[in-house]
Amino acid sequence: MKVLARNSFLLLGLAGAFALVGSAFLWWFMGEPEAVRAPAPVLAPAPAEHPPSAGKTIRLAMSAAYVSELGVGVYARLARYLTEKTGIPIEFVTGLSYGTINSMLEEGTVQSGFICGQPYVLLHDDPQPKAWLIAAPIMKAARYKGQPIYFSDLIVREDSPFQRLQDLKGRTYVYNDEISNAGYNMPRYRMLELGLTQGFFGKVLRSGSHEESIRMVADGEADASYVDSLVLDYDREKGIGHAHAVRVIESAGPSSIGPLVASSKMPVEQRDKLQHALVTMHEDPEGRQILDEALLERFTLVQDSHYDGIRSMMVAAEKAGFTAIR
């Protein structure tokens, strides 16, 4: 004791040793600094999807004539429903131009498609028809009177002064696709009727889809557009796009609604299965639910002659030499 008490250096040494042990313990307890740890693995990109193919997969394309990208969800469900009912694995394809889809149907890259009336006419009226009708939808709203028909609505921005087509002289017009019936063929015929063929609009733009056309009008990138009444209805009903910012000043039509077609490369029995599943869909509770969500009453069988109206409008434009809206 006395030795310790008289030797302060020894005590300080002891204290130092104690502190070192404590520090070592703390160091160990807290673990090594973050910097020396191994770097965390980068989030690896998900592997590309390879859906299991039970039998030969067919592709079902949907053009922008329907509910466009906004309604992809419900039509993807419809495709799954058809897979379930027919036993044919179906891959759902969207986001392509009408022309591209037609090319794909023609070559058999896609075997079926919800397409616009005019692309159907173009496919069918080939000397060797490239597509056959499977069925066409009937919309629920009263405006469609339980028929497989639809309209082409002329929209302008909500706060714009325009009241009719004639007011739009020199303005910017936007269309979705050159071979769209509602977006191009019907307005073109309407302009022909009104004699507005000599460069009526100031500027004409292409949007790629009705949905995009509505957005451009709503955002002021264009002043007007003829759009598919189905797309407008769906947007208004679901409140998912820009339909609330535009108003309809006139409607063209009615005209034959876009059908579901089968590529001529598609086996007949597959086509028949799809057709049966579609036209009986409204009798099935699950099918009914999907139809309701898509605002559809049911699918019905249609004849090729149902699309003669479109043909005659096309012919009239060609005859008049008024093929491109100006």
């Binding site: 004791m1 006395k2 310790l4 008490a5 302060s8 005590l11 300080l12 002891l14 204290a15 130092g16 104690f18 502190a19 070192l20 404590g22 520090s23 703390l26 160091w27 807290m30 600094p33 973050e34 910097a35 965390a40 693995p41 980068v42 989030l43 990109p45 998900a46 590309a48 999807e49 592709r59 922008a64 990208e69 394809v93 986001g95 392509l96 131009s97 022309g99 591209t100 090319s103 794909m104 070559e107 890259t109 896609v110 696709d177 050159e178 949007s207 790629g208 889809s209 995009e212």
Partner: protein, 563 residues
């Protein structure tokens, strides 16, 4: 001592608390920064992923466009699907970075979104760029394949994708920088903690040595010195304690002696008192016996008086017996012996002879009857005396003996003893005696009390005119174990102030009395576990003496002597 301890304890505790607080704060800081670094690491990784997704999305779109331009539809569809999947992943991941991965669907990301405003701004800008690029992507893929040359939409997509890449890179770089900064801070704190701990430990040791250890050594030396002093003091104390102990032992011994003497004297005194008591009891008993004897003799005297009177009367009657006429008749008949017939029939006196003889005979018969009655009375008086003597002998023999007694018979005996005197004084007697079973009692003492009470009553009635002297004897059972004997008279009564003195030794109102009777009666009553009480309305209003006794029914066992 306690004060000194506190002086040492508080700084020590203070330092300890400081040390703990420092360590805890450091640990919290390390944990917090660690968490932040980890979060930023995750975000940095996510940002890198976003950048990769953007690059892949752009590539897929360009490849899809190549497919479109070359009418390679399979390629178009494959690349577009890949772009769509990438778009979905971008939306999910960027949303999770913005709002946090609350559901934990991505696993890698923390549940809260990016907090740093700079990074947040960059991420928001990235998402805007994304929206623009995605719209361009959709539009350009909707172009017709023959219209791709000089397509403004293609240009638009090119510009948008360039902006998108830049924005993604910025987010990634910002988060990486942030992470690096926080890592530096963490390293700093981790280096500072051991140094702080070392300094604190040094401080603690310095304090312990300066304030506790050195004073302790010094006090140890002092303790050794004071221990010696204490030992001396303790020895002295022990010696004094031994002395005092011895003194106390001596005093104790003396006290014990005194105590023993005292005990002996107490025993002696107790014995003396016991003897005195026994003598007193004996005296009282003898006095009681004397009283009883006096009473008996008095009564015997009374009866002897009656015998004397009866004998005198008998003598007088015998002397007055009508013998002369008879003697005269006998002379007359002698005279006329010869001519008895003529005398009886012819002489006037002779003719009246039968009538005379008849009357004489009647007279003599009457006299004889009267004298026979007197003789009878004499016999009765003698019998009475014998009875009194026998009774007295009977009670005298049973001294202090408790035996089964009929209360009714005992009272009748007492009245019989007093019978002559009561009759002579013309005292009318009333009995109200409840029928009771025999009870265990000291017969002699009880008789003494009752005789005394009757005698007193008889005396008290002397002042009353004859015919108004009334004595009432009443026996009743008060309770299951209590019986009372009441002796009442309507005589001279007792003044209220004398009621309290009447049982005292030597108190009397009689000229020839010695004041012993009632006192010994009260003592006798008490010795039988009973009590004697008196009640009087006042002078001239009579008095009632009540003797209460425990009622012990005859148990059938032979008598037993009381202590």
């Amino acid at each position: 001592m306690a004060h000194k301890l506190r002086q040492l304890l508080w700084p020590l505790l203070g330092m300890l608390a400081l040390s703990i607080a420092l360590q805890a704060a450091s640990l919290v800081a390390v944990v917090e920064i660690d968490a932040r670094v980890d979060r930023n690491r995750r975000y940095a990784v996510a940002a890198t992923s976003l950048f990769d997704i953007v690059e892949q999305f752009e590539n897929a779109t360009y490849l899809a466009l190549v497919g479109l331009a070359a009418s390679d539809w399979e390629m178009l569809l494959r690349q577009r699907a890949a772009a769509q999947a990438l778009a979905e992943r971008f939306t999910t991941l960027s949303g999770a970075m913005l709002r946090g991965d609350g559901q934990g669907t991505l696993g890698e990301l923390p549940p809260e979104g990016i907090q740093e405003p700079e990074a947040l701004g960059a991420l928001t800008a990235l998402m805007k760029s994304w929206d623009k690029a995605n719209v361009a992507h959709v539009r350009v893929l909707r172009s017709e394949n023959h219209a791709l040359k000089n397509n403004p939409e293609l240009e638009e997509f090119r510009a948008a994708s360039q902006g998108l890449s830049e924005a993604a890179l910025e987010v990634s770089v910002l988060l990486q920088n942030h992470r690096r900064e926080e890592l530096r801070l963490l390293g700093l704190i981790q280096r500072v903690i051991p140094v702080g701990a070392f300094l604190l430990t040094l401080l603690l040791f310095g304090f312990v040595i300066q304030r506790i250890f050195l004073p302790f050594v010094a006090s140890t030396e002092e303790l050794e010195q004071s221990e010696t002093a204490l030992r001396v003091a303790r020895d002295e104390l022990e010696r004094r304690v031994a002395e005092r102990t011895e003194e106390l032992a001596r005093a104790n011994e003396a006290l014990r002696h005194a105590h023993d003497g005292l005990e002996l004297r107490v025993k002696e005194r107790t014995q003396e008192l016991k003897d005195t008591q026994r003598r007193a009891v004996e005296l009282a008993r003898q006095a009681g016996m004397a009283e009883l004897a006096t009473n008996v003799l008095h009564n015997v005297g009374n009866v002897l008086n009656s015998i004397n009177t009866s004998a005198t009367l008998l003598g007088e009657r015998l002397r007055a017996l009508r013998l002369p006429p008879l003697l005269k008749l006998a002379g007359l008949l002698e005279e006329h012996r010869a001519d008895l017939g003529t005398f009886v029939t012819g002489d006037e006196r002779g003719r009246r002879l039968p009538e005379f003889l008849g009357k004489l005979g009647e007279n003599l018969a009457t006299e004889r009857d009267e004298m026979l009655a007197m003789t009878e009375a004499l016999h009765r008086h003698v019998d009475h005396i014998r009875t009194i003597v026998e009774l007295q002998q009977g009670y005298a023999v049973s001294s202090s003996l408790v035996e089964a007694v009929s209360l009714e018979e005992l009272i009748e005996d007492a009245l019989r003893i007093n019978g002559a005197a009561l009759g002579r004084h013309g005292v009318s007697l009333e009995r109200h005696i409840a029928p009771l079973p025999r009870l265990m009692v000291d017969k002699h003492k009880l008789l003494q009390i009752i005789l005394n009470l009757i005698s007193n009553a008889k005396y008290a009635l002397n002042g009353n005119p004859p015919g108004e002297r009334r004595l009432i004897v009443k026996v009743e059972r008060l309770a299951e174990e209590r019986v009372s004997v009441e002796v009442s008279d309507n005589g001279m009564g007792i003044a209220p102030e004398l009621l309290t003195k009447i049982f005292q030794h030597g108190f009397t109102t009689r000229k020839e009395g010695h004041g012993f009777g009632l006192h010994s009666c009260a003592l006798a009553a008490r010795s039988m576990e009973g009590s004697l009480m008196v009640h009087s309305e006042g002078l001239g209003k009579g008095a009632t003496f009540t003797l209460e006794l425990p009622f012990r029914p005859d148990t059938g066992t032979p008598g037993q002597v009381t202590a």
